[in-house]
Symmetry: C2
Subunit: 416 residues, 2 copies
């Protein structure tokens, strides 16, 4: 298997070097051809997906997982529209980031270039095959896809259609490759090929990501989890806080930017927690609270230490009373996941302290954590949300899938 | 040992969170206090260094290694001046990278922040202790230093003086820590602490770097080697090419940006190679050439396949005749190290192709590869040269030691 994967990675590297010669217009033409090819392949996609669904039912996978696996006409349309949208976005490649003419007389330009070869390792949703591939291709990267075995037929059908459409429009032959083997060892081998692969992006549960990080010699861009906080400061507008918290917790509880832990300043706990109880009752939110909270609202369930770092992705909310802003910041930096955290406050100086001290990708003042999203941030599409602090932090859009290089011109210049 | 290292890393993380509260003025005051403390500690530094030198002589280390280990008054002065220079540089932390007000009504700022905790693993030169630490502190990062065991007394004396001076001026207590154990296993343990350490920078030989990459769960910023090329195109000014090549090969042959392989267009090989032979004779450069070159200049030594990827760091030059620009680019992308490569040409279109297609950090037209350097690029100081394509590429200055975060303000905003 190593030699097959090694050839595949070498082919990807060759393709990535051809990708740098494609103009923006050519890339967009390729993307639109891929969208058209998917549109034309709808019957084949549905047939392939039916094989995966049958196997999933035979294997008694959960209804939730089967739902994630399922393709239907509207989901295929969403994939196609996603590709057309990416084609319409500005191309970051070639953009000049700086130009310097130092005393040595050289002209030094810094420009965005592709990263090279990106491997994407993901789980059940077959739409990732299209979504992730087109972001890589738009940024002139070659992409190696490794999806979950449950979706293999669907992924293959999607990748085949996109490749055929893309190559006919000028995509280098190995710019998009799907790993066909379902052998789990393939991932471990792939992520050791640091001479051929420039970046690995695992998309899935925490255990998948940890396994990739432990084995990889290639840099990994990752999103562990979203344990997001809101801190209700002593001067927060408590009535306006309630609908904001409702939005953060309930709008889409399964997303990574949903609220998981609410911190409440002790001075307003007695006024605020009854309002929270009413919201919890109305929206069926289970509250897991610390002792001081339960002294005020005894019907709240008791929180344990594990609750402070839990990513529930469900209608459950951890609640803790804190004595001051510093303790709120400390709690967030200790238990949080560096994703998205908010303060509700009327104080400009407390807002500034919170923004400075909370070590997270997105830090909010008087806004719901739900806004952390490439679309909401005006980045167009996104590959995911990075909880790393290296290279890309927060939403990973097209710019975050690029590197840069220095282009330097002289007149037969030697260093003094 | 794990528990000691684990405490040290936890202390560094706490210190890194205090570092974000330091103003630029405060950080510069700390840096100047560190420089003054080193100045006052000269006798202690020389005494400690004498212990290392004695041990090195007893262990029969090479004269070159002993020279690298040696501190004297002028080297200490260079360290001190280096710190004062870093204090004088602009502070990248807090700089606004962008500001967006999307349709959702939020104000989204993106600002530079520290990376957090940076571990630096390095070999013999004790000056790295000061040079690397101050770049981290200027950028509000906490730093963990792990030097070579040969320099332990010197490194300890430098770190002790800097810490004492820095802490008296307001540096958080564990912002600068030197690992005292010489146990080799410490590195392996340290680079697995991805919950506490945000970045590892190994500085040393390729085997040290590979060992770190294989073991690390923390992102690694690295410089493998510098196999730099110059391609003499068919329309190059051959007379002006010679002093440029002399500069690239001979000015400081042991540096990573020195020329290692010269590629010559076949159309000018017969005219150019005799000029190269004269240069080689004058500067005592050993030439290792391919067959077509030796057909023209039989006295050149024969190159083997290994020569194409060799980093000689010495007065040796590999020479190959290539049929065209594309083959030159292919050779560089195959055998090079993505560091610094140049074309000598009068053709704007060939220059453009070379700049676009060569996948290296610094790509030159009509200039010596020796210019790849933070100082020459106008970046002030540098930590090294990255041959990665992720996060930082080329010279690693202050900006490259930073991350960013999004600071978002709303008016009790919920996502639609």
């Amino acid at each position: 298997m190593t030699s097959e994967l090694s050839i595949l990675a070498a082919d990807a590297q060759v393709a990535s070097r051809d990708m740098v010669n494609l103009s923006t217009a050519k890339k967009n033409k390729i993307l639109l051809a891929m969208a058209d090819a998917l549109d034309a392949a709808r019957p084949a996609l549905l047939r392939a997906n039916a094989l995966d669904i049958d196997a999933a039912k035979t294997a008694s996978l959960s209804p939730a997982l089967i739902d994630r696996l399922t393709l239907n006409d509207s989901r295929i349309t969403a994939m196609i529209n996603g590709i057309r949208f990416v084609a319409s976005l500005p191309d970051p490649i070639g953009k000049r980031l700086s130009k310097r003419i130092p005393a040595n007389g050289l002209t030094i330009e810094k420009r965005r270039v592709p990263i090279g070869v990106i491997a994407i390792i993901y789980e059940a949703r077959p739409n990732v095959t299209a979504d992730a591939a087109v972001l890589c291709i738009k940024t002139s990267n070659a992409v190696i896809l490794r999806g979950g075995k449950e979706a293999l037929h669907s992924n293959r059908a999607i990748a085949d259609a996109m490749t055929a459409g893309g190559v006919a429009a000028g995509l280098p032959r190995h710019a998009l490759q799907l790993i066909q083997t379902t052998d789990r060892a393939a991932v471990g081998e792939l992520v050791k090929m640091d001479d051929r692969i420039d970046l690995v992006i695992p998309r899935g549960g925490e255990s998948l990501i940890r396994a990739v990080v432990e084995q990889s010699r290639v840099p990994v861009l990752k999103h562990y989890k979203g344990v997001c906080h809101i801190f209700v400061n002593k001067d927060a507008d408590l009535d306006r806080a309630i609908p904001l918290i409702e939005n953060a917790k309930c709008q889409r509880p399964a997303t990574c930017n949903a609220l998981e832990t609410l911190l409440v300043h002790k001075d307003v706990a007695a006024t605020f927690l009854p309002k929270l109880r009413d919201l919890a009752a109305r929206r069926h939110i289970q509250i897991r609270a610390d002792k001081p909270s339960r002294a005020i609202i005894p019907e709240f369930d008791a929180a344990t230490e594990d609750d402070w770092s839990a990513e529930y992705q469900d209608l459950i909310l951890a609640v803790r009373v804190v004595p001051n802003l510093n303790k709120a910041v400390e709690h967030i930096n200790r238990y949080g996941s560096r994703h998205s955290d908010a303060i509700l406050t009327a104080s400009a100086s407390d807002a500034k302290k919170f923004l400075q001290r909370v070590d997270s990708a997105a830090v909010y003042v008087n806004a719901s954590t739900r806004f952390t999203d490439g679309g909401e941030f005006g980045m167009g599409a996104e590959m995911g949300i990075s909880t790393d602090k290296f290279h890309a932090r927060g939403p990973v859009g097209l710019e975050e899938l690029t590197s840069y290089k220095y282009l330097i011109r002289g007149d037969y210049a030697s260093r003094a």
